[in-house]
Symmetry: C2
Subunit: 229 residues, 2 copies
DNA sequence: TCAAAAGTGTTTTATATACACCCATGT
DNA sequence: ACATGGGTGTATATAAAACACTTTTGA
């Protein structure tokens, strides 16, 4: 490692925000760019990493500034450094992805005079920069990870029904699951706490509400337990 | 995203190089630093990302310059951006890891007046910067990934015995495996080609040499096949 | 002939899959 | 009473785990 000064690439963070809405639909937050390049096109939220903040702090700050999101599951995804990904300047971006529940966390629809909105995964427009590639990477990560880490619960409300959990897995994995087998498997892990409550305002038999027992999971994990659906 | 110019963090790449030697021992390449900071301490190879090269190109260039390694399996690991990881300057590093076979690829023992050598995983000295943390992350990744992607073959010679393959898995996963069950499982995937040859120069029954059928694997993978040990 | 590792099958156990009906609730 | 999703168990098939002896080769 040398101390000789080369010109430095610009360094940004970008964040794919996945949100699950009241209809159990999985969406991604996009922001319409109001300045060139890619003016008018949709992009994922992000911005420059400041000299005195960590990467994760930068991602959290951008999320807060651009979307009003603060308490959120956040994980580093991948770092993208192709030469032409930003036409203005050589820019390397550290991409993160975030998972939130859209019912419990009310998000600003629009911020800082920018148009921010939620797009279902099936209706994503062409994105600015290499953000298509970043989104594709994030979807692949979510799909892979939800099967062996309990990150799905980050998308659900604190209390959820087994059907909601199953539907989430079906959406993310993109294939149907057998109801009885799914319940058998998830309940046999003994990581769900029966809250004693049931869902409200449905015109049929109300389902039990469960909570994920995170502290029990962390304990089991230390002893070599592997969450797996 | 703004065009206003903030001061930029320095951007480097660092690379954990795992190598498997003739004794089937897993080792990591370290370089002794000849300048401050951390002068005299061991570190993983790395250096600055140039303005006109991609991250992967930078990692490959550093590997070539510092260790003479060129044809190598390389994968991005994680990006580390803690504020104090380099005492001179704010430096963000994109870490990669590489897998090579030390018998087939002869590596310079020492380069550029630097002292480079191979350390068994059990005898790693205290490393410069946050390189301990990077190494720990790389080991965890290797351990996790070898179970569901056929990356172990990158560490073995082109032709290898089933015992060598098993021993590699035992080393990386750090627990013993049953010989008959291991063979049954790996052979049932039908991804190993019997080369017709046997190992040479052993003072006992010579084992068959196999090759990994990568093109068949890539085909199967496209059709949804999952490699798993 | 001895030492050292290669090679080989079967039984048992655990896990995954397939599958259909009654229940509770609100309209 | 009807429509809607909630909730439940068993039988079968598949995969994982446990386990020990014979074979080959060079020294």
């Amino acid at each position: 490692m040398h101390t000789y000064e080369y010109p430095r690439p610009a360094l940004t963070v970008d964040c794919i925000v996945f949100g699950l809405d009241a209809q159990q639909e999985l969406k991604v937050m996009l922001i319409q760019r109001d300045i060139p390049p890619f003016q008018g096109q949709w992009a994922i939220p992000g911005g420059f990493v400041r000299i005195d903040e960590t990467l994760e702090a930068a991602a959290l700050r951008e999320l807060r500034e651009e979307t009003g999101i603060y308490d959120v599951y956040l994980e580093q995804l991948y770092t993208f450094g192709d030469l032409a990904r930003d036409p203005r300047d050589r820019t390397v971006t550290v991409a993160y992805y975030a998972l939130i529940n859209l019912v419990e966390q009310k998000i600003k629809a629009s911020t800082d005079a920018r148009d921010a909105s939620w797009f279902p995964l099936s209706k994503i427009p062409k994105l600015a920069f290499d953000h298509d590639k970043i989104l594709k990477t994030a979807i692949a990560r979510l799909r892979g990870k939800i099967r062996y880490e309990p990150i799905g619960f980050e998308l659900l409300a604190t209390k959820f029904t087994l059907s909601q959990l199953q539907k989430l897995y079906e959406t993310v994995l993109d294939h149907p699951l057998d109801k009885r087998n799914f319940r058998k498997k998830i309940l046999s892990m003994e990581l769900l706490i029966d809250s004693g409550e049931v869902e409200q305002g449905v015109s049929h038999r109300a389902a039990k509400l469960y909570q994920f027992d995170e502290s029990k999971y962390l304990q089991l994990k230390q002893n070599g337990f592997n969450f797996e659906i």
